[in-house]
Structure formats: structure tokens, C-alpha cells
Amino acid sequence: MRRWVRALGTACRLTLTGVGRDRLALCMVVLFIPAWIWAVRWVVREAEVRFRLYGLQGPADGVASGDFTANGNHIGQIVGALNAVTLITGFIMLMVTFATTELDRRLILCGFPRTALMLAKTTVLLLVAAVVAGYAAWLLCGSWAVRQEGLLTVAVFMAALVYGGAGIMLGSVLRRELEGVLVVIMMSLVDLGLQNPIMAREVDGIPLLPLFGPMQAAFAAAFTDEVPWRPVTHGILWLLATTSLGLGVVYARTRGYPRPT
């Protein structure tokens, strides 16, 4: 047990060291997120936009149940922040997984506890997602009076986790970095594009998309005093699916390694 804890500590520390040395990713976090939010704030119109929150009752002033309206500029800022956060977290975890996949397998072959390596990746994902999401939520809360700041932070955190989990999954499954980068970009584009109330009308099947839960929770946090539990659960399921698939691939590929004697 003591050895396992030591292994987990070493793996977490060295994986985080790898993330910290990715200067471009750090610059993206510090500069790109505020730049993107402010650009949207300048460009997007402030017209009222209608959107639907699943599982919540809409206001009784003639608008259908579950339908809400809000400032389109604020909606644009939320979508922009989710876009930036998902891309950055997805890329960071994709690169971390790509850079370490072969070495991880060698370490496991040499006796490094497999579960410690896998848990270290998950821990780093949680830390990266917490920092990136906390920063983005703080910027949004400084932009206008968000109704539930805590829930907004949780929503952005969930979005970061879902795409970070996807980064781990893609880094484990795909053979080339470029493939992973393209998949993360396209996933985020399709996911947010189809659900952005400024662009899209309500479409059946949207609840299946990975960012359905985080986006619903973010809108509820920004414009209501309610907590939509169903979408939150939905986001957690996506996170579990992507992360466990990625880690499952690592497990499957190293399953047959002989135990050290």
C-alpha cells in the first residue's frame, strides 16, 4: 500500500510537471479565454434570445413551460467560454496522454502499479479542469451579474472534464496527434454549434451531445435560481464514459504483462 501511494505521488507530480512545461497551453489558458470572452462581448448583439432548459419550469408570462429568454450577448459569452475551456482542456489531456502512452506501458511492464498511473491521469485531469474552469467562470462572473456563480463554475468544470476525458480517450486510441486535435476541434464545433441558442432552434437528439448537461447547467446558473439536476447527471455520465474508455484502453493493452517476481 505504501509503495502504491508513493507510485501515485510520483506519477501525479511528474505528469503535472509535463503539463506545466507546455508553455503554449499555459499561454492559451491565460490569454485566449479572456480574449475570446471579450471578443464575443464586443461583437454579439444584445437582442433577447429564447432557449429551453430541460426539467425546469419557464416563467408564466406567456412563454411555454421550460422556455426562457436572456440577453444574447451573455449567452454568446457562455458559449464562447465553454468553447475555449473544452478545446484547451481537451488538447492538454490529449497531449499529456500522447506524450506518456509509450512510457506508461514501459513503466507498467517494469512493475509500476497500473492503477496508480491511471489514477494520476484522472487527478491531473481534475486539477487542470478545476484551474481552467475556475478562471473562465471568474471571468464570466466579472462580465455581468450571474445569478448562481457556484453552479456556473460547476457547469464549466463539467464541460472541461468531459472534453479532458475525451482527450485521454483519443490520446489512448488514436495513433497520431493531428487526428486527435482535429477530432477535439470538430467535436467542440458540432457540440456547441448545434446547441447554441443564438444559431439553433430546438432539435430532437440534442440531449445526447456531450455538452448538453454543462450547457444547460450554465444557462440555468446564469439566468435562473434553479438547479437542473438531470443535465448535471448527463454531464457526469459523459465524463465517466470518455475517461473510463481511455483508461480502459490502457488497461487492456497492458493486461497481459507478466507480474514482476
Partner: protein, 213 residues
């Protein structure tokens, strides 16, 4: 009777329809420096990966007595970590209480000054030295080395062979995949891999020349 550190029995391995190993057998006794030669694509690296446990054979069996230290052909390292950080990772993997054996290897291979350098900053030869160090630092009874001296300068190449001979003299089994004809005299035994089988050559020099063609 000779004590074997590794026994490979009737191993078969295919990649798709291409059968690389077709019933390969190999005994590696204690205290032996063994060479494995063969043409490109003959299955030398596949054989070593199977011996190390990284790859499963489709059929046949591998018996290992004690741990195996495996040095892959291409350095498997993380570019953003330093030499020291790699040593710490593998210290945990091998459950070593001290890094003294690894430090000794750094001195022997002549790259102790690079301990704080990131792998991305190292030359190809120094990466290969680290790759080799990670395979040997736990002093396993068997080491399998896949062309371990690629990129080494002449002095380091000679020091590598001194190290391999010292390990052999200490009772370790050392298996080296080689392409170089002038390595022939250094081996105690030589396995020529051809047609998916291993032929143990009596005349070592001829064997290497054949294999190095």
C-alpha cells in the same frame, strides 16, 4: 546441467497474415552473452518483445526466471522530463530503495552531467544511454537489449561491451540484437533468426556475417 534464465519454446507470432515467428525456440543459460542476428523484418524485435513480456505470442510459451530488463530499439522516454525524473519513475517501478546502481550506470556510460537535462535537449546517443540505463538499473538476472548502442560514439560503444561482459561474468544473461559483423567475437552464443526460427550457430563469425548482410 546448465541453469536457464529464459526458455522460449515453439513461439509463433503473426501480424495479420504475415507470420514472423514460426516455432522459434531459444534457451538462454545463466552467465551467457548471446547475440541474435537476422535480416531486416526477420522478427528479432518481436522475439525480444515477447521475451520481455511486452508482446504475447500467438502460440508457444516463454519461461522467465526472475525479472527481465528490456531495452527497446527506439528510446521510450518522455521529452519534457529530465534524466533524473526518469530515474525516479523507474525507481518506483522497480521498487528500489536507492538510485546508486543507476548513478553508477550514468558514470559508466558517461552522461552523469546530463542528469538535470530534459530528454528533448539530449542528443540521440545520450537518449539511447538513458534508454539502456532504465533497462539495467535494477540489476535483473536477464537483460534483453534491442540494438542498444545505436548513436553511441566509439568510446561509449566499447564501454557498453565492457558493461555487457561484466554482467555476463556476474552470472547475468545478456541477449543483444546486433547488426554489426565485428560484434561476432564478443558473443558466447549466437542465434540466427531466419524463416521465423532460430538457428544456434556453431561458427559465430560466419553467423554474424550472414545475418548482417
Amino acid at each position: 546441467m546448465e541453469r536457464m534464465n529464459v526458455r522460449v519454446v515453439d513461439v509463433r507470432k503473426s501480424y495479420g497474415r504475415r507470420e514472423v515467428l514460426r516455432g522459434a525456440c531459444l534457451d538462454v543459460p545463466r552467465g551467457t552473452l548471446m547475440g541474435v542476428v537476422g535480416e531486416n523484418g526477420a522478427g528479432k524485435s518481436t522475439l525480444l518483445r515477447i521475451i520481455s513480456g511486452q508482446l504475447r505470442p500467438d502460440a508457444g510459451s516463454v519461461h522467465r526466471y526472475g525479472r527481465v530488463g528490456y531495452c527497446p530499439q527506439h528510446p521510450v522516454l518522455n521529452d519534457v522530463l529530465t534524466v533524473d525524473q526518469h530515474l525516479r519513475y523507474f525507481q518506483v517501478a522497480y521498487d528500489l530503495s536507492t538510485l546508486s546502481p543507476a548513478e553508477e550506470l550514468l558514470e559508466t556510460l558517461g552522461f552523469a552531467a546530463s542528469r538535470r537535462c530534459r530528454v528533448a535537449e539530449l542528443s540521440g546517443g545520450t537518449r539511447q544511454k538513458l534508454n539502456l540505463t532504465l533497462a539495467l538499473m535494477h540489476d535483473p538476472p536477464t537483460v534483453v537489449l534491442d540494438e542498444p548502442y545505436q548513436g553511441f560514439d566509439w568510446d561509449t560503444y566499447l564501454r557498453f561491451w565492457q558493461l555487457a561482459e561484466r554482467l555476463r561474468d556476474q552470472g547475468r544473461s545478456v541477449v543483444v540484437v546486433s547488426h554489426l559483423a565485428h560484434d561476432a567475437d564478443r558473443f558466447d552464443r549466437l542465434g540466427q533468426l531466419a524463416g521465423g526460427r532460430i538457428d544456434i550457430r556453431a561458427d559465430i563469425s560466419d553467423g554474424v556475417r550472414d545475418g548482417a548482410r
